[in-house]
Amino acid sequence: MDARALKEGIVSGRLDADALSAGFADLHAPLSDHEALVAADRCYFCHDAPCMTACPTDIDIPLFIRQIATGTPEAAAKTILAQNIMGGMCARVCPTETLCEEVCVRETAEGEPVQIGRLQRYATDTLMAQGVHPFSRAASTGKRIAVVGAGPAGLACAHRLAMHGHDVVVFDARPKAGGLNEYGIAAYKSTEDFAAREVDWLLQIGGIEIRNSMALGRDVTMAELQSDYDAVFLGMGLGGVNALTAPGAEKEGVLDAVDFIADLRQSSDLSALPVGRDVVVIGGGMTAVDAAVQSKLLGALSVTIVYRRGRDRMNASVWEQELAAAKGVRIITNASPVAVHGNGAVREIEFEFTDDELKPTGQTFRLAADQVFKAIGQTLTGEDLPDLDGRKIAVTGSGRTSVKGVWAGGDCAAGGEDLTVTAVAEGRDAAEDIHAALMRA
């Protein structure tokens, strides 16, 4: 171990290029043809399959697996993509261990589910590698729809609308489309620029214009959208980050995990990306795990996730927790941050143990930290939005908001888990509802 690896503070180049590329390689290598056949053969083709019920996008999983088993992964891909146009990304990032694979009858029988996620990736990768886009547009309806947010919800909505013959303009605040797929997912889950490639592939349907760096409320207003378009779909996600209220939270080195993840994803040279020697991540969700694991992979020597509740309450799945542990991340639960110490820059962060009702116990401890990532949730931002349900946009049915002609879906809308696959389902279903509404009018 050289001096670089041990250096205190937030520095780049802790690991050499080989270690970095090994660490950030594809988390699940793609299945080979033979592996896919063997994996597909394990599917029992269940009646009214539990996996299908568990999938937020209702992909006909037994059918697509049988299509793989019989040598037609292209047909399998069409089965998947007809329900979930981002089936390629969902195959990579879905917490399948809490969705389809959790209820797979072979999980029940043997504790070893059919590898649905990897099979889905095999099928969609096969089709995408051929450059085939299997859907085409219906005759033009002359209707124009504004979609806010080019993430999973917005793009799924836009694609389905375009397919029905509508013209769609997608406004996105970021310089690149993709939303969290592009900016918010660990790099080892979306290698070789997959998120961007998937967006390009999706746009082959035609009829979708993406306007980047256009934020709602800054570059375009709700009123403009409502007057210029026949319908509006809001899928801008959660733009704000919850603040850390502990004293000292403003110190240098205390950062938002989502920014770190985004920087990492946009980085073309990981050896130039700085990371602390002692990293502490506050939070218990996927974002916390993604930030912690990637800190470790960048060369941080000690990385600790600290979560205020018990382990069973963590939003990160057990599988994700185990991934973090396997990468050398320590997880401390039932502890809340009470103070950030340091002279200008963070040096230590102090926690207090809490009981299951979050009541402080009076017992405190300190962790050395030269970098602290806050992963304690994101919030909806924006003005002139439809009515809220709690801190998100209230929706009924297929994403209808309190405002006529305005639909919402994805993380910014109330209800559903904040998952890529859920966002896709909501975007798709809103598109169907918008289509039905516009065609009735």
Partner: protein, 434 residues
């Protein structure tokens, strides 16, 4: 450990596992390796008459079908009899038999249907010290086009005639190998018996096209764009072979005709099944061609263990043990009433039983909202399909209704006495029970 020594038509071998006449037994090198691995005997790959050697195709000669993970389930071949000179084969047979006197060495033969051809070759085989001959009346491809192999095996009169020639011209035991490509296996077997055969062996391979190349539109294996039917063997043919063996074994006139069982024997269990249905020993080919000669070690250990568990000390105790229970449909007890039962602790709720029963059978399985599957006794005819499609062993079982219990499907109590079709009131030719 049980004694696996077998005496088959006077030919002794340390175990009942012989390699069938086929590529694995085509030459000295292979057979020596087989004997070293533990095989009890071999039937040397079929010799033809002296003269210019046989030629084979120079493209693929095998085709296959596979199960999961490319497990080979069925193999098809268009290879002919040995394509090596007769004198080379004879020399090698002699050398191997000399070095392995305790192993069975049977020589498969196929020469034209004229007595002189048989008269010519039999002394040459005798001279090698071989233990016996097997007449190849089974190969369904190539040689059959030339009036040999299954072309003989499909005509009982020819079988009887040639068998008689052989018995008249050699002191060696004569095993007649039968083709399954006929309608009633008992006819050729009876012909062999009538001709004086010491035993029959079956089955040889089944006419088959394993698959079609959907780009070339040609059968596989494809030779320059064309394909010809081959002979099918391997695990997939075992049920057909078992039935044919049993048909012969349970024919009273052939009750004492020894049978060498062939057809998809892959494990000790397969062998035990053939033997229980009447085979005195078994011959193996595809399993060896798939996994190599070492599999015989599993066959030996498995059969020994099974026999020990059953308290059998000799293979002869196993042979024909199931024959008395092979019956005709008309004699099956219609008063034996069972119902499917689903063990809810073992059930993994895949719903395959439901799909199969609901779509294709008797609508006798109910599915609840929360995916609990139960049998509707008033609809269940005990067809067994649910058990066959269930991926969990023993999850669904057939439970017999007690005598006197009401069969909810028919509303009638289960009768105590045996009642079959021969005495059933719906049978116009039924005879009243005496």
């Amino acid at each position: 450990m049980a004694d696996l020594t077998t005496d088959f038509v006077g030919i002794k071998s340390p175990n009942p596992f012989w390699l069938a006449s086929a590529p694995p037994t085509d030459k000295e090198y292979n057979v020596r390796r087989a004997f070293e691995a533990g095989w009890g005997g071999v039937v040397w790959k079929t010799l033809g008459e002296a003269g210019p050697p046989i030629v084979n195709v120079n493209g693929p000669r095998y085709g296959a079908i596979w199960g999961a993970d490319r497990r080979l389930l069925g193999l098809n071949n268009i290879e002919l009899i040995t394509d090596r000179p007769l004198e080379v084969n004879l020399r090698e047979i002699k050398a191997v038999k000399r070095d392995y006197p305790d192993r069975a060495m049977v020589v498969s033969l196929m020469v034209p249907c004229v007595e002189d051809a048989w008269k010519a070759i039999l002394p040459l085989v005798e001279e090698t010290g071989a233990d016996g001959v097997e007449l190849n009346f089974g190969c369904p491809h190539g040689m059959s086009e030339r009036g040999m192999g299954s072309a003989v095996g499909q005509v009982p009169e020819y079988i009887e005639m040639v068998t008689r020639w052989v018995k008249q011209n050699t002191r060696m035991p004569c095993i007649v190998k039968l083709t399954p490509n006929i309608t009633d296996i008992r006819k050729p077997a009876m012909a062999a018996h009538a001709g004086g055969a010491d035993a029959v062996s079956l089955i040889n391979t089944i006419n088959s096209i394993t698959s079609v190349d959907l780009d070339l539109f040609a059968p596989e294996p494809t030779i320059d764009g064309k394909g010809a039917h081959g002979g099918y063997c391997g695990p997939a043919v075992k049920p057909i072979a078992l039935n044919m063996v049993a048909e012969i074994a349970r024919t009273p006139e052939m009750a004492n005709l020894p049978i060498s069982g062939i057809g998809g024997v892959t494990t000790w269990k397969d062998a035990a099944e053939f033997m229980a249905l009447g085979a005195g020993n078994v011959q193996v080919c595809t399993a060896a061609m798939t996994y190599g000669f070492k599999i015989v070690q599993e066959m030996i250990s498995g059969l020994s263990q099974y026999m020990d568990e059953k308290g059998m000390t000799s293979t002869s105790e196993l042979v024909r043990k199931a024959v008395p229970n092979v019956s005709d449909w008309q004699h099956l007890n219609l008063n034996y009433v069972t119902k499917a039962r689903i063990d809810q602790d073992l059930c993994i709720s895949c719903g395959r039983c439901f799909a199969a029963c609901e779509d294709t059978s008797h609508q006798a399985i109910a599915m609840s909202e929360d995916r609990v599957f139960t049998v509707k006794d008033d609809e269940c005819v005990a067809c067994n399909l649910c058990i066959n499609v269930c991926p969990v062993e023993d999850c669904i079982t057939m439970e017999r209704l007690e005598v006197g219990a009401i069969d909810e499907r028919t509303g009638r109590p289960v009768a105590a006495e045996h009642g079959d079709w021969t005495s059933h009131p719906n049978n116009p030719s039924a005879q009243a029970a005496e």
